[in-house]
Symmetry: C2
């Protein structure tokens, strides 16, 4: 029926239209039904029926849908009941325990992409598509369908390397270092990172402080051609449906493995990745809580790679303690460049070289880690870093001292002699966010001491940086209640171990694979 469109200025969990009871009865539409709005066939998946705001003959539509339809305030649009989309049958089949084929999975992903499925329907799909109810073939179909929702780039080179961290470790600034080491050997590595979702600083947040991170596919290709690698920001160009799914998952805080690995891999497929190293930070509260979970995850990821023609290796790292000493965009950028210059906290170089080393081994190196160390200490990595910064429109001569954190600083001191206990990662992140990170790029935390250190009363334990006094106060308040760093008279035993605690496949297994191929 013809209805006059008005903009519905509301925030509600999903695209929702409001119509009167009378009009709903004529169309035969109820609150859980989908309706189709012509000018161009946009579908709205949720309906409010009310006579309070809306008059007969009117429809209130979210601004986004108005734009999608090309409708303006007061335009007459054609509205009709839209039968449950075919993809709902596929979701239902999955909820009932059935196996989905390529077309069924494709229809679900396309309808998510087109906004035909509501968030509740996406959530039901993701919930049903869980580890016990989705097999690798289905996950592979899902991956390809997700990749097909965006651009695919042919970089014109083979092999293509990539590095992906599951995240969750504060201060994990190793990506530009890994990329620089790998690219310095002539191995293409077009690494796309993300901004922080719940953390205090994502890789793109700190890289953004010294060069561009938003790159279209053309500039990405050029940068890989000239510099051999990038550390840019993943955007809506590649497998964009993943972001819609994440939005539906977020309110319940879920991220089940089959959809997670399909989502990760779909972006790699879009970029033509042939060799992928996954960093799996393991620890309490992380996505990978223990070695069993790591083994399960690695097993699925490696098998999915095999199906899709991507050689995948996984390295288990320690999610328990921050990498380096800096948390927050400018502070992390500074520490990252210091490490490239041969200074900075040794934990950053150690993790970067261990990870880069594995990638070098994928490319045929025997002792990748030693090679990576050599590349870093020789200055070759720094040189490559500056080339990539230039390719991303940054100043190739950037120095740590050019990066100035917020000028409002609070030093937190030890109140008695003792040993620094294990740091509470969540609290460190919470304090850094209270100080304004990541949107205030100068905000964050510097850890002057780390777990196990012996400190004297009055020593500076850590410093909070902020861009203004009120956020500094907010962060101090947060630090007071959360106590992210505690000192205790008892010494803490810190196990001596490398940055990587396990690899999948094992080195022995890899030797076999290499022998075979």
């Amino acid at each position: 029926m013809k209805l006059t469109a008005h903009a519905f200025k509301v925030s509600i969990s999903e695209p929702t239209a409001a119509i009167t009871r009378d009009d709903s009865l004529v169309m035969g539409v109820g609150p859980n039904d989908h309706i189709r709005i012509s000018l161009n066939g946009s579908v709205v998946s949720s309906v409010i029926i009310t006579d309070e705001l809306v008059k007969k003959g009117e429809i209130y539509l979210p601004t986004l849908i108005m734009e999608k339809c090309g409708a303006y305030e007061g335009d007459v649009v054609d509205v009709e009941y839209c039968p449950l989309p075919e993809s709902i049958r596929s979701i239902r089949k999955k909820i009932h325990g059935g196996k989905l084929n390529k077309e069924e999975i494709g229809s679900v992903i396309n309808d998510i992409m087109d906004g035909v499925l509501s968030e509740r329907e996406i959530l039901a799909f993701v919930s049903a598509f869980n580890v016990h109810n989705a097999d690798l073939t289905e996950i592979a179909y899902l991956t390809r369908a997700m990749a097909a929702t965006g651009k695919t780039v042919d970089l014109g080179v083979r092999p293509v390397f990539d590095f992906h961290s599951l995240g969750g470790v504060p201060g994990n600034k190793v990506t530009p270092i890994v990329v620089s080491i790998v690219a310095s050997q002539g191995l293409p590595i077009p690494k796309l990172s993300s901004r922080a979702i719940s953390s205090a600083c994502g890789t793109s947040d700190f890289v953004d402080t010294f060069c561009d991170v938003e790159m279209d596919s053309e500039s990405l290709k050029n940068a890989v051609r000239t510099a051999g690698g990038v550390f840019a920001c993943g955007n809506e160009d590649y497998a964009p449906v993943g972001n819609i799914i994440i939005k539906a998952e977020r309110p319940m805080g879920i991220d089940p493995r089959p959809v997670m690995i399909a989502s990760i891999m779909s972006k790699k497929i879009a970029l033509g990745t042939t060799h992928l190293l996954m960093d799996l930070p393991m620890g309490e509260g992380a996505k990978i809580p223990d070695m069993e979970a790591a083994e399960d995850f690695a097993g699925d990821m490696i098998s999915l790679g095999t199906i899709l023609g991507v050689h995948v290796e996984c390295a288990v790292s320690d999610a328990g303690k921050p990498i380096g000493r800096a948390i927050g965009p400018i502070l992390e950028a500074r520490e990252c460049i210091e490490v490239l210059e041969g200074r900075g906290d040794p934990s950053v170089a150690a993790k970067a070289c261990a990870m880069a080393g594995i990638i070098l081994e994928m490319a045929g190196e025997n002792d990748g880690e030693s090679k990576a160390r050599e590349i870093l200490s020789s200055g070759k990595a720094l040189k490559k870093f500056r080339e990539i910064v230039k390719a991303q429109n940054g100043d190739p001569a950037i120095e740590p001292s050019d990066l100035i954190p917020g000028e409002f600083v609070k030093e937190v001191h030890a109140r008695f002699d003792g040993y620094v206990q294990y740091l509470d990662n969540r609290s460190i992140v919470a304090v850094a966010k209270a100080a304004g990170a990541p949107s205030d790029t100068g905000a964050g935390i510097m850890l002057d001491h780390k777990a196990g250190d012996l400190v004297k009363k009055g020593d500076v334990l850590f410093r909070i940086f902020a861009e203004n006094q009120s956020k500094l106060d907010r962060a101090i308040e947060s630090a007071r209640s959360r106590r992210p760093m505690k000192v205790d008279p008892e010494p803490v035993s810190i196990p001596e171990r490398g940055p990587i605690t396990a690899r999948f496949p094992s080195k022995e297994m890899l030797d076999l694979i290499r022998f075979r191929s």
Copy 2:
């Protein structure tokens, strides 16, 4: 914060409050958050933020929530952000493939019952709790938790028998006959049926035409004491959480097995059932499409019964053709009593005696079906039926001729000589509903012929009954487009088979079980 409550006269998929943007920022509440409304702590699980309808300092609340809170139009209520309930953690764990314990499942069910979880959250739980991701222990916990949301009745007798059909077969009027046969042998059978959800007539819909079906637990106990059984209507007294879950499932048309069997069994547990016979109508489009599904369902149901101390047997029946010839409340009531009087379509008596026979065997009879036939033909079942009708405040002398269907009748004739093809159950139901069934009790269909019959041009194939001309016209229109009965010159081969095509456990297995016990 204190807000003035107004009634929000909208139909929307779940309890939703509307507040202004300003107030939402002060409370820190977004569209997917839960809020808690005091006077009595009701939780609203969905929020709309808009400045169009609502003024600062106001909150619009669904009428139901107003009632729950005891708030009236213009009352000031206290509204606060409500952190994600603990049960969300359990749902998240299930989505991530974990196993839930008794307390975790209990918290989910209690929060569903209390309205704390939104429909999207319930849907996510049900979708994750699927056949591949829920084991019998979890289903047993779910069953007990569901049963605990309502009353439990101790009828003061043991054993307690029950009969439950998965439904989906038009004209399935056997329940009062089964109950009468079983109760006539002194075996207590407090059978609670339901009204139609998507069908043209549920058992309670036709029983309601000759006696009361709504019984509180006190009158239920009395009726079982005096008459030995009832054929009443299941209501909100027993495991009421099941209805909330069904409401969340309905828009997507899902009914996954683990939640379905827990829901069925929870009502049995509430009534103290010790012996349960499940009727599983099998056929295309039914909940049980094939023998593999029947075996899976029966296996789970029997094992769940074992854990919960209920002896379960399952009988697979034919979902392909209507039982008897009448569809619609009064028409079905009439046919049901005719069969009890030894007349009527033989398919009704056949199914009723086969089902009742299995229950008699549970109680020790050797050849239950023959015994059931004998009870029916001797008039003992009819006598018991009249006792139960009396206990349910009906006229014990009720005769089929007292039940008068709608006076607006359309006879549909064969247009040429030939054989009646397989009937289309869905279309028969659609036509009966178009005629007004089940709410117009006199509406429905009488099948003068069934599949396989040889008919001559002009013979009456079926008759549509309605209570007024406009609904009759609507039904005729529906019959014209759907053609629920087709005649073809080719004969149809109707396989000769009894009303029950398989039993679980098999009779041999049962003999072993009985020998053991």
